[in-house]
Point group: C2
Chain length 96, copies 2
């Protein structure tokens, strides 16, 4: 399975301001399903929205979280580290 891109185009549009909880939820669900398309469906949003959301997140973090392939996505090592933290944060938020 060959990778298509390492860093998705450095993001051409407006610069993001900060990480938000939706981005965390998007990344977590994408990791769980190994697919942006399925994650978008589960979260009742659009594939394009989720793709952009994660792209902005990666831009904010300065590292890529997923490796993309035509079969879906897989977390990078840095991504797996980040996802652990993200899950913990979302869990705390939900207990509020």
């Amino acid at each position: 399975m060959m990778e298509r891109r390492s860093l998705p185009g450095q993001f051409k549009g407006a610069r993001p301001l900060g990480v938000d909880f939706d981005q965390l939820r998007h990344a977590i669900t994408a990791a769980d399903y190994g697919s942006f398309r399925q994650a978008a469906e589960v979260l009742s949003t659009k594939q394009s929205t989720l793709s952009r959301s994660i792209q902005l997140l990666e831009c904010s973090l300065g590292t890529s979280i997923f490796d993309r392939s035509s079969g879906g996505v897989r977390a990078t090592p840095a991504g797996r580290y980040f996802l652990r933290i993200a899950r913990s944060i979302i869990e705390q938020l939900c207990d509020t």
Copy 2:
């Protein structure tokens, strides 16, 4: 020192969609300084922005976080509970 409102007007504008990290930072800083004005200054934003931000946060949570007075603000009991979680979340995010 008399309180002015218990719940700030239930928020008249658009309903918020979710909590975000800026709201957490705003609340934490406001609690640290006991003042929206000082917190806004420290965070390089406007008092009105911070006031609205926290108002939306309280609306999302369904409870008030601060008691307002003409001398500044003070966390409610529910606010203190929430702030503990918020600090923990921000701390984790910053270690990323």
